[in-house]
Symmetry: C2
Amino acid sequence: MGRQPADIGMHISEVDTPALILDLDRFEANLAHLQDLTRASGVRLRPHAKTHKSSRIARLQMEAGAVGVCCQKVSEAEAMVDGGVTDVFVSNEVVGPRKLRRLAALAGRCRLAVAVDALDNVVELAAAVAEAGTQLDVLVERDVGSARCGVRDSAAALALAQAIAAHDQLHFRGLHAYYGGAQHIHDYRERRAAIMGAAEQVRETVEVLEHAGLPVEIVTGAGTGSFPFEIETGLYNEIQAGSYLFMDRSYAAIEDREGRKTSEFAQSLFILATVMSRPEPDLAVVDAGLKAFSTDSGLPLVSDDEAMVLKRISDEHATISLPSGSSLALGQKIRLTPGHCDPTINMHEWYVCIRNDVVVDLWAIDARGAFF
Amino acid sequence: MGRQPADIGMHISEVDTPALILDLDRFEANLAHLQDLTRASGVRLRPHAKTHKSSRIARLQMEAGAVGVCCQKVSEAEAMVDGGVTDVFVSNEVVGPRKLRRLAALAGRCRLAVAVDALDNVVELAAAVAEAGTQLDVLVERDVGSARCGVRDSAAALALAQAIAAHDQLHFRGLHAYYGGAQHIHDYRERRAAIMGAAEQVRETVEVLEHAGLPVEIVTGAGTGSFPFEIETGLYNEIQAGSYLFMDRSYAAIEDREGRKTSEFAQSLFILATVMSRPEPDLAVVDAGLKAFSTDSGLPLVSDDEAMVLKRISDEHATISLPSGSSLALGQKIRLTPGHCDPTINMHEWYVCIRNDVVVDLWAIDARGAFF
């Protein structure tokens, strides 16, 4: 891990920048809230570690009641298991002998599941666990609208489930059906309709599989933007949300039933930046740019003052337009709300955890860069 | 540093993905070519380490004739000096006591220069070097069109230079005048005109400073898109280009005098990705997404086949539209040309160096995440 941007006990104004700030009161409220909601609904929560990239946060989620975590990559799963996580679902296809050897070995160290969408991949998986002498749970990925990975129909799902069931060391457990594209549909009714449409496809596939004598124990999916709808279907019994812990500008833009952009989760994650130049009365330059936050889902917002607007971003700078008469001074710090939390977190090595503007802890982002 | 994606001697098809691939023959040709051009023109080359983030590459540049490197951050400069670099210009303002203490200490370990654009910052700098007992070269940053950091006129530059000269441990050396916005102007004549306009502003400031008895030894700036013009001005005597080593989709789009997109530098940097799903005949999903490349300057291109087009990117996936009848198979690897090299490199921890498709070395990106 790299150099720490802060020491415990520091005031936020002393933190070295750019830094990833985590407001622990808000973070803990978010963590508890989704746990409570899923518990009350009788579904399991298996949050996605691709968002937080931290085994420490994964353990906090499990202590609160999560059944385990999702990971997107084998190396991410290895980092979680190294950090004490005991139950991981790699909600993604793992392809190639090098990765499969590591996956099969990891299955000897935790309860492990993986997604598949191709018969050739089942053959590869079976060979890897046979060589390693381990057991692996397998879920068939069912595409429900993302047009990314996943089988496109129930017949393909059935063929895969049968192939999995034919191997002693592979255990068919159910369906992975995540609709990423639906998470960011702003309109409540359209978003709900997208998930209800997805659920119809999943329901048909469940029926085909169970009719063929293959019990579907797990139906897993859902994200921060859509999980109430997956729960409403009565079909999904595992929820994979990840961004609810932090939130971002993109998730803050989706609307509730009344068309209001008021999330039940609070923005707990910020980029702290320092004013490094005040070249004109209505212009400030801060020391955070494309290496400190992702811009794929829009530029960050200035959290502390909506009259300040990010105009341009370069590798190490953001140029901010200020309201007339602004007293923002050289060396002053401002907080930015990232556009997209996952790829932003992945650029950093530490969460600087604060309460009441004082640094109370630093948490390592130990799976940063674990994208293999 | 994290896990290595490859071992020396491996064929590229065995490399774990996503990985950052560096074609060493092309890289070495690029490195030699700019060194030759600057040497022939009688200007010094001080390449920007913010692009490569590697002390090993910095040393290769200096062995080839570079006078030192530019850095954008104190921690980046520390990583370079830790790796054996002896001459660094921090081409950026350094603000705040914590950073300034480190900068002043680093000045005891190498020849070090820094940029300033505010009188308050000169006072802070002087206090830091006084406390550390070190010496620091200082350049005034002159804005020439980027509307980012830098003084806006010659009077402000003069006031700063005089303030620097008033301190025994600070040494006024010249002007830093980098026009970032000009680098990516596609049209040759417009790009040249932008730099010629910038040079007029610099020339006036040089005259004002020298008239006041403050010799301007160094005029530094220029990037991969514009350096021939800065050289042509006869005014710039240090060139800061960085991307010329690697190139990217964005730099490949700028035009030469005849309107052709033919750079004198070769694309040496690629993202290697593996086909992890082939869900439809004309669709492939590869295992590299927003955590493996930056999208701020456009999506990556498929290097090996221009008929393959990246359609959608998510955190860990890129979905690629394939030409009809494509035989691209599960597990096959493809190379992507990144949209913007600097923030892409900063996501990775290793350059996988290849010659003739065989891994011949791995170079640590030892300043990755050094953005403090």
